[in-house]
């Protein structure tokens, strides 16, 4: 069969699930709405941000929330030269795992850095909040470079 004979039609696939987020994730997302970053303390004393309901090592239930600053440092990053629909920024940006000051794990988000030459592993960044917030990870519009601002390390 030649390609000209192949019929095709658009199909938009949606999985419109609604979910409840549980006590820990709910607190984190509600915190974002208020402009606050929360982590959770794991059994070994580490602070996980974003927080999870169960310890990633022991599976124990975690409940001790810890308030954290809206600053951190980049632990690894990649460059997105052509952002795709739905991604946090519509111009080229870096994806980064950001270790929030006082936390021991990384949070994935966009870093609005202008060009890949402006990004280095270990650089300091701060949260850029969305003006309108609804209790979602997208309440963080992105991270932005924080220059030599004092960190919590």
């Amino acid at each position: 069969m030649s390609e000209a004979e192949i019929l095709s039609a658009p199909l938009v696939l949606e999985y419109p699930f609604k979910r409840t987020v549980g006590p820990v994730q709910s607190a984190f997302l509600t915190g974002l709405r208020e402009g606050m970053v929360l982590g959770v303390r794991a059994e070994d004393g580490r602070v996980l941000c974003p927080p999870v309901e169960y310890d990633p090592v022991t599976s124990a239930e975690l409940t001790e929330l810890v308030e954290l600053p809206a600053t951190g440092r980049v632990t690894t990053w990649s460059w997105e030269p052509a952002p795709r629909a739905g991604q946090p920024l519509d111009h080229p940006f870096a994806w980064a795992l950001v270790q929030i000051d006082g936390a021991d794990t990384g949070l994935l988000h966009a870093l609005d850095a202008g060009s890949p030459d402006e990004v280095t592993t270990g650089m300091r960044v701060r949260v850029r909040w969305n003006d309108e917030r609804e209790g979602a990870i997208t309440d963080i519009a992105c991270f932005e470079p924080a220059g030599d601002e004092e960190g919590g390390q």
Binding site: L13, T76, S78, T105, L108, T121, I137
Partner: protein, 354 residues
């Protein structure tokens, strides 16, 4: 433990776009091939287990269509996984261990071309912290590559060498999608597409299918003169959140390797499901493979990477080379999830190692 062997393996000619055939038409030829090779029909298969994903097919319970093609009437004993068919093979192996089956047909297929795969794969992520950001599969692999480069685990030169070696090996594989490669030095002159990754570091997007038949003990010896015996098989998973993992290592692969006895005897050959170049270094290290081990003589996932079938094909390729006598002992590896989250390890030996 019952002795279980791979007794037949078939795969499609992998292509970027399988436009003229739907999923059922794509998978039926490989099913016919393994059964014809063994001289059996569906009535002699005790258990059928498939891997596929509705997120590619675009409809719910899409595996039922292919099951109709297999022939599910009169009723057959079957199961399905929404993950790489290497895990369907694991389920079939367990089923045979229970004694409920002596033979099993395992197949998997992925037709990625109708949609935007990078967007589709973002839907497998945590829907609270990751999904709303639509991070795509290449961007996440690039984060891992950066961590590996920063940590001295690999270099861009080694990554380019892995790409070139894989695609040159694929020149001998008639089923591969990408065959041949420029020299690593030439590859490194190309621009980065998702820094630090260049195009050669990424797997192709592939439409394809594969099937394997497993059989136990004497039934395996009846069906073939050269069974590839599964001497160990295990799979392990890590935390989903990328931020809690050390992305430069694969503890789940290392644990699966220990549980499946990889280090119990020398390994001659390995088929590794490491879709991005830097991941081959991580997996090779986690498996404890020395420099003398032949890695991905088929070309591996950098030469053809049909989603859902890619891991099963690693087991099939390793088994084929054990059956032919090319290797006495081989390791196959399959992965699933972002940045090598979940890993399966399978050790295969020929009859002489029995």
């Amino acid at each position: 433990m019952r002795d279980v062997a791979v007794v037949a393996f078939a795969q499609s000619h992998h292509v970027r776009r399988e436009q003229a055939r739907n999923e059922v038409e794509m998978v039926m030829p490989v099913l016919h091939q393994v059964k014809t090779e063994l001289g059996i029909d569906q009535s002699q298969i005790d258990f059928t287990c498939s891997g596929s994903t509705d997120y590619l097919a675009g409809s719910a319970f899409s595996f039922v269509m292919t099951l109709d093609g297999v022939g599910a009437s009169p009723p057959i004993s079957e199961s399905h996984v929404e993950m790489d068919a290497a895990w369907a093979l694991y389920e079939a192996w367990v089923k045979i261990q229970t004694g409920a089956a002596d033979t099993a047909l395992v197949y998997g297929y992925g037709k990625s071309s109708p949609g935007a795969l990078r967007d589709v794969l973002s839907r497998q992520l945590d829907p609270y912290y990751l999904g709303p950001l639509w991070p795509d599969s290449v961007a996440l692999a690039a984060l891992q590559a950066r961590a590996c480069l920063d940590g001295g685990v690999t270099t861009v030169e080694e990554m380019a060498e892995i790409a070139a070696r894989s695609r040159r090996a694929a020149a001998d594989n008639p089923f591969a999608q990408l065959q041949g490669s420029d020299d690593p030095a030439v590859l490194l002159k190309e621009a980065e597409i998702a820094a630090p990754l260049r195009r050669h570091d990424c797997p192709p997007i592939t439409d394809g299918a594969a099937a394997i038949v497993l059989a136990a003990g004497d039934r395996a010896r009846e069906l073939t003169d050269a069974p590839a015996w599964i001497r160990g098989i295990d799979h392990r998973i890590e935390a989903h959140s990328l931020g809690v993992r050390d992305l430069t290592t694969s503890p789940s692969t290392a644990l699966a390797a220990a549980r499946s006895g990889v280090a119990d005897a020398p390994v001659e050959l390995a088929e590794l499901h490491a879709p991005f170049t830097h991941q081959e270094v991580i997996v090779r290290t986690a498996l404890g493979l020395g420099g003398d081990v032949t890695v991905n003589p088929s070309g591996g996932p950098l030469a053809a990477n049909p989603l859902i079938a890619g891991g099963l094909i690693r087991i099939g390729e390793a088994a084929r080379r054990v059956s032919s006598g090319e290797a006495g002992r081989a390791v196959a590896h399959a992965t699933s999830g972002p940045c090598l989250q979940q890993n399966l390890v399978c050790v295969l030996e020929g009859e002489r190692g029995h």
